[in-house]
């Protein structure tokens, strides 16, 4: 598979989860494990452009796919529009949910480029944040949609 555009070829045990593979084998620790029970979305990455909870996918299932993690979102040192919007709108406090939130938002905006506020809230229902109360996250996603 490729991770952030780089080839990654490794032999793994079948039961290796994608999130483990990314963090432990590829040494990309930007992807977080929150609940480990498919509920919180902290582990969200893009698999062929679509948001997926990497704690609920085997690395073997992602064989051949193109994975994007938070480390791979910027291009040539320039942050992605969603990353910039999170910074500008203070869309994070402790930051634990942020990598997953940003990637879920990137995937969501790909599918729905001009969302309403209600659609943003629904589109991020799979991602929990224990700090912000979501308000600034939603504002950031709306701003990123407008900025594109």
């Amino acid at each position: 598979m490729t991770v952030n555009g780089h080839d990654q070829r490794h032999d793994v045990e079948p039961r290796t989860l994608l999130v483990q593979f990314l963090r432990e084998t590829c040494d990309l620790t930007g992807t977080k494990v929150g609940c480990d029970t498919s509920s919180c979305g902290a582990c969200t990455v893009l698999v062929d452009g679509e948001s997926v909870k990497s704690c609920t996918m085997l690395a073997a299932q992602a064989d051949g796919a193109a994975i994007t993690t938070i480390e791979g979102l910027a291009t040539n040192g320039e942050q992605h529009a969603v990353q910039r919007a999170f910074t500008e709108h203070h869309g994070l406090q402790c930051g634990y949910c942020t990598a997953g939130m940003v990637l879920a938002a990137v995937s969501f905006l790909e599918e729905n480029p001009n969302p309403t506020e209600a659609e943003v809230r629904l589109g991020l229902e799979g991602n929990l944040c224990r700090c912000t109360g979501y308000h600034n996250i939603v504002q950031a996603v709306l701003a990123a949609a407008g900025a594109k």
């Binding site: 480990d36 948001s51 997926v52």
Partner: protein
């Protein structure tokens, strides 16, 4: 949490799946989107010794117009149902309910075949299959057979699928521009229904309930009452008849029965029954 160790077999076609099922017998489990099976394996509530990954059998992912019905490949993902033009034209109810399943991440991976084969009474899509009298097409070592949705769901996580069979297609009758409504009651947006009520009005009115027994069920009492001229509000009063509501952290059976009556009334009113 890591699943217990297992052998991983990747199937490239339906025939390879069937051969692997024969070879590995009861020890094997099919892995489709993994949205139900992997969480169970991580909790070690499921410990298959062989996983047959069918995720790449992409010729089982399709939505085809087949005249009076829509033929849906078992590996079609919730996301594909949710965004299907064909469904929005011919079977809006399935499209709308698919959009209610879990969250975006779950819908990107989970499949209609997995939702059906899993046999979870809290799942949303089986209620649609039941209400519309859909047909499941399954393939085994001795060929294909069809199972009506009403005979497919046998008990909690138990279906009419034999261990060596693969669900290949679901045939859903076209509804055209039918009135329908799905009322899903849950505490967090992405969750399963604590109770769900689906009403589809197409001359006669069909009502299906989610999480009111060990299988998805039809609310026959409500359907009979409507057929004999009762108002939606009167008919909804019979919503809990014949149910065996489960008791769990979220709700007692009595509360679920109350929810069923309220949600059925709302669904009937919204569907124009």
């Amino acid at each position: 949490m890591i699943p217990a160790a297992f052998d991983y077999v990747r199937a490239g076609s339906a025939d390879e799946v069937l051969a692997a099922l024969v070879e590995h017998g009861d020890d094997a489990k099919i892995l489709a989107g993994g949205m139900s099976l992997l969480p169970l394996m991580k909790l070690r509530l499921a410990t298959p010794s062989v996983l047959i990954d069918v995720g790449r059998v992409r010729d089982l992912a399709y939505l085809n117009d087949a005249g009076d019905h829509i033929a849906i490949g078992a590996l079609t993902r919730h996301r594909e149902l949710e965004t299907s033009e064909l469904l929005s034209r011919e079977c809006g109810v399935l499209q709308a309910v698919a959009a209610e399943v879990g969250d975006n991440q779950v819908r990107h991976r989970g499949t209609i075949g997995g939702s059906t084969a899993h046999g979870d009474p809290a799942s949303d899509l089986p209620a649609v299959l039941l209400a519309l009298d859909a047909t499941c097409v399954v393939r085994g070592p001795s060929g294909e057979r069809t199972i009506p949705a009403a005979e497919f769901f046998l008990g909690f996580l138990e279906t009419a699928l034999a261990p060596d069979e693969l669900l290949v297609e679901i045939q859903v009758p076209k509804t055209g521009a039918t009135g329908f409504a799905y009322q899903k009651f849950n505490r967090r947006a992405q969750d399963w229904a604590i109770v769900g009520a689906l009403a589809v009005c197409n001359g006669t009115t069909r009502v299906a309930l989610v999480n009111m027994g060990t299988t998805p069920i039809r609310a026959r009492g409500v359907e009979e009452a409507l057929a004999s001229g009762s108002s939606a509000a009167e008919a909804a009063g019979r919503a809990a008849e014949g149910t065996e509501a489960p008791s769990d952290l979220n709700a007692t059976p009595g509360y679920r029965e109350h929810l069923a009556r309220v949600l059925v009334r709302r669904a009937l009113e919204a569907a124009g029954a």
